[in-house]
Amino acid sequence: MAGSIELRDVSVTRANKEPILDHVDLYVEEGESVALVGRSGAGKTTALKLINGLVKPSSGRVLVDGLSLEATDLVQLRRRIGTIIQGAGLLPHRSIYDNVTLVPRLRGDDLKTVEPEARRLLNALLLPFEEFRDRFPRTLSGGEQQRVGIARALVFAPEILLCDEPFAALDPIVRREQQEMFNALRRERSVTMLFVTHDLQEALRMAPRIVMFEEGKLIADHPAAAFISSRDSRVRLLVSSAGLADS
């Protein structure tokens, strides 16, 4: 098993602008789950995109399994990483089955061995396989598309899961259900997970360790309990706005 992640003194800057990430250090062990919180624009999504190489660091190093991404074949790396984004980003011209099996097809895996897992995942996500396999994304609701996105990220047993606000667009009840379905499925196997959300409640449901970003800086990195009781005023503001402050 593998999947350790490290950001070593990473900055991401654009010309003449405030840095998007400012000297960030983060180490995530194999199999660990970490939630990245902070307001929009704080840098958490950029931190996530560093790990699959969609964003390049301006300085510092990004390492997966101890290997610097500069020395890594990014295409091959991405085929080991399950990515879930807000709005799913399904291929609109491909069937649900084609969408779910996208990464195995890119890897050249034998689809016969993938199909049972695709079937199991879609069924578990309340998308009955026989009913949904040949349908197209446009005929699905937003919540259903999001679940197809989850199946697509899990079907090839990834070593790392990168989740960027996957449930943000859903109404609260559906969101809660999908969080639970997702948690049940991802816990079947050991996988390293980074989960970006602006919602602290969600962060606590997803991961035992919370990392907070503000204006490009990593300002807090604690186990959940310690995070909630932190004395840092910026953390306290987030905790109290999520209705979690102890009076």
């Binding site: 699959n52 969609l54 295409v75 091959q76 790396l77 991405r78 085929r79 990483i81 990515t83 984004i85 709005g87 799913a88 980003g89 399904l90 291929l91 609109p92 011209h93 996208l102 990464v103 890119l106 890897r107 197209f136 994304p137 446009r138 996105g149 697509r152 990168l162």
Partner: protein, 208 residues
């Protein structure tokens, strides 16, 4: 008053269609890859678009006139006509290819890249299929424009329905002019209708 026998009319219409098909076909082969390039490299792309834009502003008769004295590509005949028509067909196809590719939902493109598609796979499996209805739209415009413009090819001895029109003009014979003009109009309308159907079907298939 002279008349044209149906068999002659059919042959000339066929000739006209062939000229258009070759011209649009060649324009597709050139403009689609060029459009892909222009969508990838925005600055160079803008230059390419401006050049083809410029070609479009040259009056058709002048274009044929310019081409005739150029060695190898010019001269009198069908070849000159086809080269001019290719030049006129480039812009709509090129522009629509660029528009189609840039119009692909950035979320879809990002997701496909994050799943581990190479740039080539992204182009073949995502960008080109999703841009296809728009590209077909460009081919439709190019074809309709070409069917009309190809009548002028007769002025450089290019053949086609323009020959009938030219002869009709010379002989002040409106029936002869109509014998050339009507089939050209009908062809243009037909091409427009056929490509519109293909375009819409594809758009539905691509989830648009």
């Amino acid at each position: 008053m002279s008349s044209v026998s149906p068999s002659v009319l059919l042959r000339i219409t066929g000739e006209h269609l062939l000229i258009v098909a070759i011209s649009v076909g060649a324009a597709i082969v050139i403009a689609v890859p060029l459009g892909v390039f222009a969508a990838r490299h925005r600055r160079a792309g803008r230059l390419v678009l401006r050049l083809t834009d410029g070609v479009q502003t040259i009056p058709a008769l002048a274009m044929f006139g310019f081409l005739i004295p150029i060695p190898f590509i010019g001269g009198i005949g069908t070849r000159t006509a086809i080269i001019a028509l290719v030049l006129y067909s480039l812009l709509p196809i090129l522009r629509n290819t660029v528009t189609g590719i840039l119009g692909v939902d950035p979320l879809v493109r990002e997701a496909a890249t994050a799943m581990g598609m190479t740039p080539r796979q992204l182009l073949r499996e995502v960008e080109l299929p999703l841009a296809m209805p728009t590209i077909i739209g460009g081919i439709r415009i190019a074809t309709v424009v070409c069917i009309g413009l190809a009548t002028i090819a007769a002025f450089v001895g290019g053949g086609g329905l323009g020959e009938l029109i030219l002869r009709g003009v010379a002989m002040v014979d409106s029936r002869l002019i109509l014998a050339g003009a009507l089939p050209a109009t009908l062809l243009a309308l037909l091409a427009d209708a056929v490509f519109s159907v293909v375009e819409r079907r594809l758009a539905t298939k691509m989830g648009q």
